[in-house]
């Protein structure tokens, strides 16, 4: 069995995880619906968001050059990274050049995507996560499982234990007798982190948006830790996916409405930090922007799949997804879980292993994600498009070169079955013959299916085969000129 189904099957048996997830996603789902309902032009904003992203993506080369010019003009330095390894190398070298061995980090998906913390650790540099949930994940030696709430799979008791047992190894220990009251947990984290903000000379961030017309980067957050990291250290290194570009401040305005309402169900984010290059005697002395590709231009080459690059990482699709709710975030095998992960990961990485091949099938195509998405990404459409890539192969772009990939091997039996079924369905006379045969032998049909169908009958009863198909009933009771076409009688 491929990766997602197996991982998801384990999670569905974890009652605690399912209860945590259900509670968290349903709470935020309801709040989000209320926050969205407050705006009577939501659908138009959504369409505007999608249109701005599409236009920007179509001319991404142009806007990226403008962005680079403006960042440079404002005193920043731009670096281009084709993949994760290159980005990690650039960041590691930049940190080394400062002579520092520690960095503070603002919560960022893209640094998870490239595995930056591990790369820094290998170079002897310690990276401290400063977002509360990321801190929990880091101290627990765990992986994030939600875009917005990376520690959504943990409850308060677990968090208290993690703080008590692990904080000392990473800096200031947890206070004696720490309880699991949210206020106490937050205070423990605050004390632990405050030392790091004040001591660190280097910070690493991502960005939610990059405004090309001025070279400005934007981070929205709730806790204020991000602002600390963005303003206190001497050197700021921002690693950002190239798709985060927006042309102008006017475009930005649309997203600053769409994002908080979809994400945290707030009218605006508690902290919106914006920085443009460097400024004398205020904020970081040095600013580096690492622009990351890592599969994005390849994704851009796919006309159907490229809409995944509109994503503003609000996590609304996760919170409404019935599959995510049962499978949990870790089953998706990347920092991008849920519906967006199911279409983004196989595109950014390529269909390189059973995990990526199984992700497009990690959906019942119920469409709740599409309805929730603030930039109207038709996730079901992309899922089906990628399924075709899995079973039929076809042309894809890998590192800028058009390549033909072969169908995934393990689908051979399914393909044969589909072909046969397709032939039967396209020959109604054969179909009718099959129906009659099945009806005649119906007393002998097993109540449990053999082979891959067994999983179906493990948890469900099969319907009974009727004695007569509709087709036969129609022919028997009202057969006449409209009933049968001459061509069909011959086939």
């Amino acid at each position: 069995m491929p990766a997602f189904p197996r991982a998801a099957a384990v999670s569905t048996r974890d009652g605690g995880l399912r209860a945590n997830l259900r509670h968290a996603t349903h709470t935020i789902r309801a709040k989000r619906a209320a926050a969205v309902a407050e705006l009577d032009d939501w659908e138009r904003l959504r369409a505007a968001g999608a249109a701005i992203k599409d236009r920007t993506l179509r001319h991404l080369d142009h806007y990226l050059v403008r962005l680079e010019e403006n960042v440079t003009r404002a005193g920043g330095t731009v670096h281009w990274a084709a993949d994760a390894a290159e980005a990690n190398r650039i960041v590691t070298d930049l940190v080394r050049a400062t002579g520092e061995r520690e960095v503070v980090k603002v919560k960022s998906m893209v640094t998870q995507e490239i595995g930056l913390n591990a790369a820094l650790a290998e170079a002897g540099i310690r990276a401290y996560e400063t977002d509360l949930a990321e801190l929990i994940v880091q101290l627990g030696d765990d992986l994030p499982s939600h875009i917005l709430v990376p520690a959504i799979h943990r409850n308060r008791g677990e968090i208290r234990d993690i703080f008590r047992d692990r904080m000392a190894q990473w800096g200031r220990p947890a206070p004696e007798g720490l309880t699991d009251r949210p206020a106490d947990l937050a205070e423990a984290a605050r004390l632990h982190l405050r030392e790091k903000f004040l001591r660190s000379k280097v910070a690493i961030s991502g960005a939610n948006f990059m405004v090309a017309e001025t070279g400005t980067l934007v981070v929205v957050e709730s806790e204020g830790n991000g602002r600390m990291c963005l303003t206190l250290p001497e050197t700021l290194i921002s690693v950002v996916g190239i798709e985060k570009t927006v042309p102008t401040w006017q475009d930005l305005e649309v997203f600053l409405q769409l994002l908080p309402r979809s994400s945290t169900a707030e009218r605006m984010n508690p902290y919106t930090s914006m920085w443009t290059g460097t400024t004398a005697e205020d904020g970081p002395r040095a600013f580096h922007l690492v622009l990351l590709d890592n599969g994005r231009t390849d994704t851009l080459a796919d006309r159907v799949g490229r809409q995944a690059l509109r994503c503003i990482r609000c996590s609304a699709c996760l919170n409404v997804c019935p599959v995510y709710e049962r499978a949990g975030g870790h089953a998706y095998g990347s920092p991008y879980p849920g519906p967006i992960g199911a279409i983004l990961t196989p595109q950014l990485r390529g269909l390189i292993s059973p995990l990526e091949e199984s992700l497009p099938y990690a959906s019942s195509l119920c469409g709740a994600c599409y309805d929730a998405c603030p930039v109207a990404i038709d996730i079901p459409e992309v899922l089906v498009h990628l399924r075709e890539r899995v079973v039929e192969g076809g042309e894809v772009t890998v590192r800028g070169t058009r390549t033909v990939i072969k169908p995934a091997r393990k689908h051979a039996a399914e393909r044969a079955l589909m072909r046969t079924a397709g032939w039967v369905l396209d020959h109604p006379a054969a179909l009718r013959h099959g129906q009659r045969l099945a009806a005649r032998t119906r007393r002998f049909h097993p109540r449990r299916l053999p082979g891959p169908g067994r999983t179906w009958t493990d948890s469900r009863e099969l319907p009974e085969m009727p004695a007569e198909s509709f087709r036969d009933w129609w022919a028997r009771t009202r057969g006449g000129p409209t009933a049968t076409r001459p061509r069909e009688q011959a086939s």
Binding site: S364, R387, F470, W473
Partner: protein
């Protein structure tokens, strides 16, 4: 008005009663219906699993089978959604592969005239009281494709509310997917079963005697899950409720 019935491969093979109910209902409302024998499957299982090319002949077959009628009525929200939402996509992709025009024509013709049953009753015939009688407690499960692709809204409920003798029960979390999803149920059995179990529990809590929907494929999954858990709630297609009268209660 020439109306063709699209009964779908699942209904044809496993649920002929649903098709018979549609015929009874439409004829009672004065609609003359035809059942072109050349019809088959809409191609949804093939398309949704990634075999777009295998769906192409089925799309052409559909268009040809129904070329002589003004409207096609089908008792399946997901098949109607397949035709309306995906046939144009199939045609566009075929055109991009240089196999254009015939496909686009087939798609355009099919899309314009295909209606899910409750849509046809409410929008084309303009009726909500179809003269039905069904003396049971019933809850309604809005299937995903009916809800989010066809945007059926409250059409099915408006029809159900006018059924005499019926007592409608509200379903908690009604808009959540039941976990069927075609081949999803086979490819991700554990998640599908977990979704089905949650849906079955919500249905059981309504205390209704029956759950109805616009799609037998969701009902086979829901019904199978209910039966396995020993629940008394039984699945019934909405067409069978709307076709029932005092003389012939199902």
């Amino acid at each position: 008005m020439r109306v063709g019935l699209f009964i779908t491969c699942v209904n044809d093979t496993l649920y002929p009663r649903t098709g018979q109910a549609v015929v009874t209902l439409l004829e009672r409302l004065g609609v003359q219906v035809a059942f072109p024998m050349a019809q088959s499957c809409c191609g949804q299982p093939q398309f949704n699993t990634g075999y777009r090319h295998l769906a192409e002949p089925l799309m052409r077959r559909y268009a040809t089978a129904f070329q002589d009628v003004d409207h096609v009525v089908t008792p399946s929200g997901s098949c109607a959604a397949m035709i309306r939402d995906n046939y144009p996509r199939i045609a566009a992709k075929a055109a991009a592969e240089g196999r254009g025009d015939a496909m686009s024509e087939a798609a355009a013709g099919a899309v314009a005239k295909t209606h899910e049953l409750t849509e046809f009753l409410v929008d084309i015939l303009g009726v909500t009281d179809v003269g039905a009688y069904f003396p049971h407690t019933v809850t309604y499960h809005p299937t995903c494709h009916g809800l989010r692709v066809l945007r059926l809204g409250d059409r099915p409920l408006r029809l159900l509310e006018k059924v005499r003798g019926i007592e409608l029960r509200e379903l908690a979390g009604a808009e959540e997917c039941c976990g069927f999803g075609g081949t999803f149920a086979v490819k991700n059995p554990a998640v599908s079963a977990a979704m089905g179990a949650d849906k079955a529990r919500a249905l059981d809590d309504t205390g209704a005697a029956a759950v109805c929907a616009v799609d037998n494929s969701c009902l086979v999954h829901i019904g199978g899950t209910l039966a396995r858990s020993g629940s008394a709630v039984r699945p019934v297609h909405i067409a069978e409720i709307l076709a029932s009268t005092e003389g012939s209660v199902l």
